[in-house]
């Protein structure tokens, strides 16, 4: 009897392998999720603006990033201006999630676009994206320019001279 109890007690050990498996699964899951959520937003240093309003992402918004070197980046993909035009044409008419129309009565795109340009990128690149937005077949008129909001206490320190 005592021997049987000893054997039973000796068998009580935790098998850590499934837990480690699950933890690794979690790590992989988070890695994928983080990657997905960051695809639209390139790591850029935005200029500070005192007049920038709070950004609330609108339904179906498109993002174009412009880095310091003047590369146009759409979902982590560096593109030339011509390729950007092709991609915008494809995306602007892609079905909306809620099934609503992608163009209004005047044939203008319902989708807005957010241009995220690095503070040190040349402004002509932003203008070129605006030019593409106005082209036939794209016709995006709601163009937002991204800027970092300045907190109230930082206003005086960052105000341009």
């Amino acid at each position: 009897m005592s021997k049987a109890r000893d054997e039973m007690m000796a068998g009580v050990d935790l098998n850590m392998t499934p837990m480690i498996d699950i933890v690794f699964q979690l790590i992989i899951f988070f890695m994928i999720v983080i990657d997905m959520s960051q695809k639209d937003l390139e790591a850029l240093e935005l200029p500070q603006s005192q007049k920038a309003i709070e950004d609330e992402a609108e339904e179906g918004r498109l993002y174009v990033n412009i880095n310091r070197g003047g590369d146009y980046i759409l979902r982590m993909q560096p593109l030339s201006l011509n390729d950007l035009e092709v991609q915008l044409k494809l995306r602007v008419d892609a079905p909306m999630k809620d099934g609503s129309r992608t163009r209004d009565a005047q044939d203008l795109a319902v989708r807005p676009i957010l241009i995220r340009a690095d503070r040190a990128s040349e402004f002509k690149h932003v203008q070129k994206v605006m030019y593409v937005c106005g082209k036939e077949g794209i016709k995006i008129w709601k163009v937002n320019l991204a800027a970092a909001q300045v907190a109230a206490e930082d206003d005086a320190a960052t105000a341009p001279k």
Partner: protein, 179 residues
Amino acid sequence: MGNAAKEQATAEVKLEMTSMIDVTFLLLIFFMCTIKFKILEGKLQTYLPKDVGVNATPAQEMLQKVDIRIIRTATRDKLDLDDKDTFKKWRDRGWSESEIEIYFQTERIASLKELGRQLKELRKTVPAPVNPGPEDEDDLKMNLEAMAGCIYEDIVHVVDIALDAKFTSITFRGIDLDA
């Protein structure tokens, strides 16, 4: 004898924490490396003209144009920051990426602050629209011309000042796409 065996068996039943702590530290390091602090990101809301081609509406006489020209004169990356005066000057500019010259109409403006003051003076003569839009257009039209080399940050600063002076109609002068 029986007591000793029982104590020994009980002593063996313990959780092996090492692996769990290893994994936990791995997770901690992973999240520390990947975390990005949320930057308060905002936007400047702009709209491109809806009408394409020639505008059928005749130009209104009462519209007053405000021409702003920005010329980039220096860039931070080409500065000698070991020079004390240069260092101080750039520090006072908030480590801006570039130095610009601003022209209001045809006159050189000393600083962005001065530009803001002049725009506000001008605004006093022409009231800002209550509900800016196609039905309530701003009679003061700003033309913003960014010369070659001007960076995005310079434009955002000028647009900030224009918005502060309640300008609602800002046009960016066209560019040569081949430039």
